[in-house]
Subunit: 342 residues, 2 copies
Amino acid sequence: MVRRVSIMDIAERAGVSHTTVSRALRGHTRISAVVRGRIIELADQMGYVPNAIAQSLQQQQSCTIGVVISDIADPFWGEVVKGIDDVCTSNGQSVLLHAAAHDEKLQITAIRRLQQRRVDGIIVVDSQLGPSEIRQLEASGSPMVFINSQRTFESSSLRSVTIDNYAGGAIAADHLVALGHQKVAYFGSPKRPGSNLKRSLGFIDTLVAHGVQRSRIVQDECATDIADIDGGYTMAQALNEPGVTAVFCYNDAIALGALAGFRANGVAVPHKISVVGFDDLAMARYSWPPLTTIAQPKELLGQTAMHNLATLIGGASVADAVLVPSLLIRDSSTPLLKGLRS
Amino acid sequence: MVRRVSIMDIAERAGVSHTTVSRALRGHTRISAVVRGRIIELADQMGYVPNAIAQSLQQQQSCTIGVVISDIADPFWGEVVKGIDDVCTSNGQSVLLHAAAHDEKLQITAIRRLQQRRVDGIIVVDSQLGPSEIRQLEASGSPMVFINSQRTFESSSLRSVTIDNYAGGAIAADHLVALGHQKVAYFGSPKRPGSNLKRSLGFIDTLVAHGVQRSRIVQDECATDIADIDGGYTMAQALNEPGVTAVFCYNDAIALGALAGFRANGVAVPHKISVVGFDDLAMARYSWPPLTTIAQPKELLGQTAMHNLATLIGGASVADAVLVPSLLIRDSSTPLLKGLRS
DNA sequence: TCCGAACGCGCACACGTGTGCACACCAAAA
DNA sequence: TTTTGGTGTGCACACGTGTGCGCGTTCGGA
């Protein structure tokens, strides 16, 4: 941290007290126009940059938001963070970023470090935290909002913003059943146990409600230590269930990998098998074939979380938010009959 | 910022001065074992969280790194930030993120805000800043490192970490010429004038050196206000030069869009046209066809920048770093003869 | 001329932490 | 007993900023 000019330095040069400088720069009333003018000019000329650290200490607020994120390189979370950052900058706040892979301990230490930095509030993305940690965090008093938490929790002070994963799974099932598919697969992600379970449950329940037999729904999961897209590729290659005509994937990354995996196996999408993703990544529109997917409002997710966090910080209370996903039909899914014809 | 227990509170409860508490918690010598034990226990029991803001003010360093980024949702920058964050967390530092689109003014204001926060150093990614701004920033005294800056600059104190864009373009040209292509196109990105120019120059110079006539090299550019991938799509659709058998794209996003655009036009890749990208995004391996590309060491870019920034902060000096890209041959490029045969 | 009000500014403190210096205490050596 | 040296602790300050309160000055009205 470079030594920089302070209001004391300006005060000395201007022949006034630092109090006067502070008031002049902050546009306080009851400072004579001449003095104010001279101080402002002097500050500019001396290259004064206000010390936000000292201000934070004095004002007891840092105007800083902490964000704990499982994987910053994931394009999905990138869009969410963009939404957060948008609201932050328009609020005059800054974002303190801390990565913490899908791991309880890492997330807790990240949160602790943010609390040391006295952030005004914290957004945790893809949280793996359970009831006991939540209770502990409640006690710490920091306003917090969880985006797409992997575990549900009850809390009076901590809030969540979530996509309706169960509904998303149901929409995918509706879509595939409407296309005539009767034997389907689900490609899951064990790294996100909560949302994975809900998407699969919504999917399976709805299939069953439409009369699909449970035995005709097969499930597979990625290894936990590989990237989603690689997992999708290997699951597609490994799929060895005769008669499966459609796959619903936990997310677009898995689905995009699956497209490549099926292609490598000579299984035509969508003619032999339909593929449905989840998220609507920027890439999904341009894959081959363009991916049918359950779209999440990614930036809105971040913006909503940030808005709710801001009201929490303001002392008011907000409700948990649940955003709804929507079906985006492209070319990777097709009616069964058309598929059989080919 | 919630009111939290301070070392003064602990001191009062322990019946000692805050000095003693501070020393006990920091593991200072010459504090009796009994007193230290009691203080540590008390701190734990009272839920003490050290105030990093006060520490920063006292120590004159914030242990915080500012990052200015053009687009956090861009998967390329996501990987770079990951590299930065890795080094930061292992150094015990935090990352203050500020978005600032491809715009000089925005980047300057972002830097100013980071300086107000008294970050120990700043990394600017995809900078558009010219000599006059650079000189201004030099005067501010903050250690800074630029990753893939769009404009070259001379500076005694500010450092850069760059991929060798010219060499990357040359590699692409070598590859395509070796495959027998004699009429080629370049799909550029005006949003990044510096790297765009270098990649195209390296590409064109090398083509010419290999005997390709200048008139047989066509160039196109995205609109500035749309996403890369959309731009690639439209450029591919608009390409109306008979005889062009290969395209080198500014980056993978444009190339992936181009793959879709050619497909929509019924132009087979690589049989009718070869496509080469730049970056090696995670997706590039799984596109159809898998994308030949000039790979950048993305995480290494971030790590190197962070390492160099750390030494700069430590008062030592470092040299500018130039990392070399490498050719990754996949299926989107193919020999011309084979292409003609189909 | 006198008095109250408004104005312009500084003193002193607070925020939470770390540290140089001094001081008190105790044990061992002279 | 005095000196020396080491040990454990507190005082007072610093970091840079904002603000309640009080003091001196000026101005307008009676």
